[in-house]
């Protein structure tokens, strides 16, 4: 099996999706001739023509709306928003249109489509190249939200997202676009949505994360192990609709839970998970569910280390939870 980094795996997935289904099209700012600023769509235009992979004008609301129209007509758009920090101009099209079309039309007009977008910090990107805005979209029922954590995951989840009959926002952790490497089958495969992955089994505490943070959590689990703490690490993969069964089971087993995300704490997706896990498992919980998150500030260029959750901060929360 070849080793790929995350961008390569995503690019490979797109090539396969294009081959299998001629109705798949990809577009976005700089997506066509250039293959995207991160090169995720590299080679698609060359191979499949500029009808199917093309540049969009700089207009995120247009990109989302245009994708909606393509999806209505039976095509399968995989649109790219160059940075998730720049997806907000498309917020209305996503929240009021894409998320609502199936419902408001009584099921007549579903809009299966994918919006891919790089997200996240840890790259000295400051306020506008570091955001992790997934939580905003978790409050907009009607869309699915997927966040892969490594190349293998990225390929399988992206192919499942393209096949899914619902709109999917696919958040790609750009921090590890090139650094996360792993063996990836060259053939087509899917990883089912809404199934979390227990990446490491453990008994003392459940640690939940997604995307690039999953690696922080794995590192924290290793640090914890040295101190005799057994951490169960869950890669959530799909945020909406998420895999409550796996979470419930793990939390009931360990009785303790820490949730980690990059986004600001207040109303981050950790809040929903924490509230729900408390509601459902309070009798089994031996400590309150803890959140380690970005602070309630914007992403500060010069304080990347202090802002981005790191394994030691996670370990610290794990210990607090255990000592509670």
């Amino acid at each position: 099996m070849p080793v790929m980094n995350m961008i390569e795996a995503i690019n490979n997935a797109l090539h396969l999706a294009f081959e299998r289904d001629s109705e798949v099209v990809a577009f976005g700012e700089d997506s066509g001739n250039y293959g995207g600023v991160f090169r995720a769509t590299k080679g698609l235009q060359e191979k499949f023509g500029s009808d199917r992979c093309f540049d969009a004008p700089i207009c995120e609301q247009g990109i989302a709306g245009f994708a909606f129209g393509l999806a209505l007509y039976g095509l399968k758009p995989v649109a790219e928003i160059q940075f998730s920090d720049y997806m907000y101009p498309a917020f209305d099209q996503i929240v009021n249109e894409i998320a609502k079309s199936r419902y408001r039309s009584g099921g007549q007009y579903p809009v299966p489509m994918v919006i891919r977008t790089p997200y996240g910090g840890g790259i000295n990107g400051g306020l506008y190249h570091s955001q992790s805005p997934e939580a905003f979209y978790t409050h907009a029922p009607g869309i699915k939200i997927v966040v892969p954590s490594d190349p293998y995951e990225a390929k399988g989840l992206l192919l499942a997202s393209v096949k899914d009959p619902n709109p999917v926002l696919f958040f790609e952790p750009k921090k590890i676009y090139r650094s996360a490497k792993g063996e990836v089958p060259v053939d087509y495969y899917e990883i089912p949505l809404s199934k979390a992955r227990i990446a490491r089994e453990g008994t003392h505490v459940t640690l939940i994360g997604w995307g690039a943070i999953h690696h922080i959590n794995m590192d924290a689990a290793k640090l914890a192990e040295k101190e005799g703490i057994s951490v169960e690490v869950i890669d959530l993969r799909t945020l909406i609709p998420y895999d409550i069964e796996t979470l419930d089971a793990s939390v009931r087993k360990t009785g303790r839970c820490v949730i980690v995300h990059e986004a600001p704490r207040t109303s981050g997706f950790g809040a929903e998970l924490s509230a729900t896990l408390h509601e459902r498992n309070i009798l089994q919980l031996q400590a309150p569910v803890q959140r380690i998150t970005g602070w309630d500030t914007h992403y500060p260029f010069s304080f990347d280390y202090e802002y981005y959750p790191n394994p030691k901060r996670v370990l610290w929360a794990i210990k607090q939870t255990l000592e509670f």
Binding site: C59, G65, A67, G69, L72, E97, N166, I244
Partner: protein
């Protein structure tokens, strides 16, 4: 100096029901003309009845299109069934031309179990997948880039089809208008952007909406065709949409059509125009210019129509409508399932739990 190009307002049938000298009259079979006129009258019957129904508290809301009927009736007629229509909301005539039954239309107003939307939307949010009539959505302008996307889909799938979207002049201020026309221009998508310039956006007159000389010149900024027509002239409407359709299919790109008309009705049943405009001064002149007057004159002159026929037709419409209303009022509302379904292709765990919670609650309350 960036002077706006002068765009004449194309008129074919004048206010007196005469063809304008030298005008190229589009070919429209006589029976079609009659049928289109009948549709305009039907819209009026529906509009005025439904307005009253809202006043009686029998439906929650309504939006009439009095004075603007030629725009939507004519534009829809000029299209082919495989063409898609993205409405704003004030284009019920297009729905009727497309073949949406009065029953389905009325069911939507009631949001009952016969409503294609399963009772989920406010009145005036009709649509039908079978008729390539995209379901109305309230947020203004969102349908414009969507229409561009569908049109591009038609192009790359090499279909003999175009996509047309309606919108008001007020909606041209939205960012989505800019997005949609620009994308369509760049990709030469076979799209038709049909602006009903009815002078008002709720209380806001067009000169406070934009300083642009008119709406059609905005086409210049997108490198697409722009035309102005008398929107109360059914012939001009049909002609402009046909021409735009041909251009689009030839690969010459989209057209922005500005149809000059006037909203003689209130904005909606929630609106009171007397608070912002004068019936005499503002509306007055337009009452003489509304589309049915001249069409009636024309048809009568051609012996295609008579007062008697009009009375009969209105009665027929009224009766059909009252029947539809009766049926709709007696149709139960949608099952509770409709509250939770169609969020996704299936029901995720949280919705299953929530549905159970609601059912348990309602049972406890004796409501189920």
């Amino acid at each position: 100096m960036a002077k706006a190009p002068k765009l004449p307002v194309k008129q074919i049938l004048d206010e007196n029901g005469e063809f304008v000298k030298g005008a190229q009259v589009p070919e429209i079979p006589k029976e079609d003309l009659i049928s289109l006129f009948k549709t305009i009258l039907k819209v009026r019957v529906v509009d005025s009845r439904m307005f009253k129904m809202q006043r009686q508290g029998r439906i929650a809301f309504y939006m009439a299109s009095y004075g603007e009927e030629a725009t939507h009736v004519g534009a829809a007629y000029a299209l082919k069934p495989q063409d898609w229509i993205f409405p704003q909301y004030r284009e019920q005539g297009a729905a009727f031309v497309r073949g949406l039954s009065l029953q389905l239309f009325v069911n939507q107003l009631f949001g009952n179990s016969g409503d294609l939307n399963r009772g989920r939307q406010m009145p005036m949010h009709w649509g039908s997948r079978a008729l390539n009539l995209v379901t109305v959505s309230s947020p203004l302008g969102t349908q414009i880039p969507q229409c561009a996307g569908t049109a591009y889909g038609m192009k790359i799938k090499k279909q003999d089809a175009v996509a047309l979207t309606f919108f008001g002049e007020g909606t041209t201020s939205e960012g989505d208008f800019h997005a949609g026309l620009n994308f369509a221009g760049v990709y030469k998508a076979p799209a038709i952007f049909f602006c009903r310039n009815n002078g008002w956006a709720i209380s806001t007159p067009i000169h406070r909406q934009t300083a642009s000389e008119n709406i059609a010149v905005k086409a210049v900024g997108y490198g697409i065709e722009g035309v102005r027509i008398d929107g109360n002239d059914l012939f001009a409407v049909i002609d402009s949409v046909r021409t735009a359709r041909e251009r689009a299919l030839k690969g010459d790109g989209p057209t922005l059509i500005e149809a000059l008309t006037y909203r003689l009705s209130s904005h909606s049943t929630s609106d009171d125009p007397s608070a912002y405009r004068s019936e005499d001064k503002d509306d007055g002149p337009w009452k003489l210019r509304e589309p049915a007057i001249r069409l009636r004159k024309f048809l009568m002159k051609e012996n295609l129509w008579s007062g008697k026929e009009e009375q009969d037709w209105e009665k027929t419409c009224e009766k059909e409508l009252l029947d539809a209303i009766r049926v709709a009022e007696n149709t139960p509302r949608a099952e509770l399932d409709a509250l939770f379904e169609d969020m996704y292709d299936d029901l995720p765990w949280n919705l299953k739990e929530q549905k159970n919670q609601l059912i348990t609650f309602l049972k406890n309350e004796g409501k189920r």
